[in-house]
């Protein structure tokens, strides 16, 4: 057993895994209508390829990736497109975004699925297949995986390919169940990733509160040389920079990515999706979602993308009394949904129907007493208290100098604050303001350049007009004016005809 390198801070949270991880993954029901958002990833929104009235097949691409950092979107089942318009999506704002609505026909008619042998395909073709299958990081961020599987331009070979099965959020169990039940498929996907990245070692990090998953993954890895490494159960070990530190001892630079220190990390569900895309020819159409909290039968559902959250709740036996809030993601890093009409997206790993027992009680906010408890738990080694003062005073430059952007918004500081200050809310606010300012600066710079270009163009046109006038002018009145002008100096010769006179243009 290799040594682990504990990260700073973190929390022992109260575990709520057994509520949902005791039953196998169930197939989700096919709802009458699916609402598939075209932006389910980091990067540019996908370009819609269908119009209302079009018939689509299961697995047909309905949104094309627009640019390098973007992802394809597919029809999760066969049916008829009824609308391509703005629909509510799961987002902390509760706002709408462009979605394709499909009335399902229940026939589940597939496109032609073409499994490929990844060993025979050129790496760029393989990446293109993964890109066209709409594979994005399923740990929650939704970053297009094909981009991360491309190491072109990096001189050094990759030291470590890491699979993240830590699943440190206290309520989520979808990766746990996936590893227990489909370990062989996860490892098959990992093999494809290893084939593309050619790492020196492959590590799988799993928190030690999941002994069944560890056993299943260890068995599946037999003979591959991949190493399963149990890590202590300590939130947020599943955060990528913390897991990299934990398993390799390497610190990711402040403005960098793990790949800068030779580590590339993927979620276990992402590896599973890569396996489906390459070995089965199936694009990303569904994901495992943990439905837990105040529902009658908590569990994990393999749900089609676009299924309304209300259908999931219904399948799990409906709400129990006293549900106060519906949270997507875990209680530590997730956000409250505005309604259960919003659809499941690729990033939706958990739906928590939270009652008063699941939510931290809303206690009155007291002034900061500078106890430093937040600093002790910060896994990013920041000074949360200092960040709080700056963010509260809207001193964004100073907040940035205190490495605001290294904050992973894990919520440890808010959790331990004895004054119940919503610290993470302040950091999110400050980050958003800085981004907005940056965007505004860019817009202003663009406007400045356009204005300058316009002024130059007007000046050029003016000069051209004058030049033309000068060409034309001497033809008619020039000699007369010169001879009759009493003010003209008799010593200077009459203005000679402009040089271009013999060759008038236009």
């Amino acid at each position: 057993m290799s040594a682990l390198f504990p990260f700073h801070g973190g929390l022992k949270t109260v575990r709520h895994k057994t509520e949902s991880n005791q039953t196998p993954i169930q197939a989700g029901i096919l709802p009458p209508r699916l609402t598939v958002p075209l932006r389910q990833h980091i990067g540019a929104i996908a370009k819609p390829l269908v119009q209302p009235g079009d018939r689509v097949l299961k697995g047909q691409m309905i949104g094309q990736p627009d640019g390098y950092i973007s992802a394809a979107i597919h029809a999760p089942t066969s049916g008829v497109v009824s609308a391509v318009d703005q629909q509510p999506v799961p987002h902390p704002s509760g706002l709408s975004d462009l979605c394709v609505t499909i009335e399902t026909d229940g026939e589940e008619r597939w496109i032609d699925r073409e499994p490929v042998d990844y060993r025979r395909l050129h790496p760029s073709e393989l990446r293109q297949t993964i890109r066209n299958a709409g594979v994005v990081g399923l740990g929650g961020a939704g970053f297009p995986s094909a981009v991360k599987l491309n190491l072109a331009g990096r001189s050094e070979p990759l030291a470590t390919l890491m699979l993240n099965g830590a699943e440190c959020e206290p309520w989520i169990t979808c990766d746990d169940r996936l590893m227990r039940e489909r370990a062989a498929e996860v490892v098959a996907g990992l093999q494809i990733m290893a084939h593309l990245l050619e790492p020196q070692e492959v590590l799988i990090g799993i928190e030690d509160d999941k002994p069944e998953a560890i056993a299943a993954m260890t068995a599946a890895c037999a003979g591959t040389g991949y190493e399963v490494r149990p890590v202590p159960t300590r939130y947020p070990s599943g955060s990528v920079k913390q897991l990299v530190k934990l398993l390799t001892g390497k610190e990711t630079p402040v403005d960098g990515l793990p790949v800068d220190v030779g580590v590339q990390c993927f979620n276990v569900a992402t590896a599973y999706t890569v396996h489906r895309a390459i070995n089965c020819g199936e694009p990303m159409l569904s994901r495992v979602v943990t439905v837990t909290g105040q529902v009658h039968r908590p569990g994990n559902l393999e749900t089609l993308i676009g299924t309304p959250f209300a259908e999931l709740i219904k399948q799990c036996g409906g709400y129990r009394e006293n549900v106060e809030r519906l949270i997507m993601g875990g209680p530590m890093m997730g956000f409250a949904l505005h309604s259960d009409d919003a659809p499941v997206t690729k990033a939706a790993n958990c739906l928590l129907a939270a009652g008063s027992a699941e939510l931290a009680p809303e206690l009155p906010v007291l002034p900061c007493i500078r106890c430093g408890a937040c600093m002790d738990v910060c896994p990013a080694n920041l000074l949360p208290q200092q960040l709080y003062w700056h963010a509260r005073a809207k001193e964004f430059d100073q907040a940035r100098d205190c490495h605001l952007f290294s904050c992973i918004e894990c919520g440890c500081c808010s959790h331990v604050c004895p004054s119940h200050i919503p610290l993470v809310q302040y950091y999110r606010y400050a980050k958003n303001e800085i981004w907005a300012k940056e965007k505004e600066k860019q817009r202003a710079e663009q406007a400045r350049q356009r204005h300058q270009a316009r002024m130059e163009r007007l000046e050029r046109e003016k000069q051209e007009r004058e030049a033309k006038l000068r060409q034309k002018a001497p033809v008619r009145p020039e000699p007369a004016v010169a001879s009759t002008n009493p003010h003209s100096d008799p010593l200077t010769p009459a203005p000679s005809p402009a040089k271009g006179e013999g060759h008038p243009e236009g």
């Binding site: 999506v89 007291l366 505004e440 817009r443 710079e445 406007a447 204005h451 316009r454």
Partner: protein, 183 residues
């Protein structure tokens, strides 16, 4: 005595030559403070400050001819940034130049556009496309919301509409918490 005078004189002469050389060799073209002021201004080019654009206003501020509170699109934040840059005290926006409004973009009612090109000539950032006797339209991404196209339109078919909130522009708000005084 003579040696002292000579030494000092020599030193003064050498320093003078050095300074003279430096003044020519490292001469700064333009006024860097104008650039800095221009970078703070919102580049709307609306002319509400009474100058022909953001850069002329920046030049006027640098020359001490204009006050720092004449830019409505920059708003109170812009005035604060200018005050910080120039080491002055912030002051409220001069109501004579206008009021601070939410960001808006011009939209042409294409049904009513007669293709007169007057708005195209008025737009300071070339954000309107079209040709004579053909419909015009605003490139929304490039519009600075300066409103200079509104007045020339003979059929009043241009309207300012505020930016609709969208997922890409949505921001977390300042935490609305009531801090209770410690007992």
């Amino acid at each position: 005595m003579i040696i002292a005078v000579m030494a000092l004189g020599l030193l003064a002469g050498a320093s003078g030559l050095l300074l003279g050389f430096a003044a020519i060799r490292f001469e700064v073209e333009g006024d860097p403070i104008v650039e800095q002021i221009d970078a703070v201004l919102p580049q709307t080019q609306c002319g509400q400050c009474g100058y022909a654009g953001c850069r002329p206003y920046a030049e006027a501020i640098a020359a001490g001819e204009a006050d720092i509170n004449l830019c409505p699109p920059g708003g109170q934040n812009g005035i604060a940034a200018l005050a910080e840059l120039l080491g002055r005290d912030p002051k409220p926006l001069d109501p004579a130049s206008g009021v601070e409004k939410p960001k808006m973009a011009a939209v042409i009612d294409e049904q009513n556009c007669i293709g007169c090109t007057l708005c195209i000539q008025a737009c300071p950032v070339d954000a309107i496309v079209g040709a004579a006797k053909h419909m015009h339209t605003v490139i929304a991404r490039e519009c600075t919301g300066c409103e200079l196209c509104l007045a020339p339109c003979p059929v009043d078919c241009i309207h300012m509409i505020p930016f609709a909130p969208s997922i890409t522009t949505w921001k977390w708000t300042y935490p609305a918490v009531e801090v209770k005084a410690a007992a």
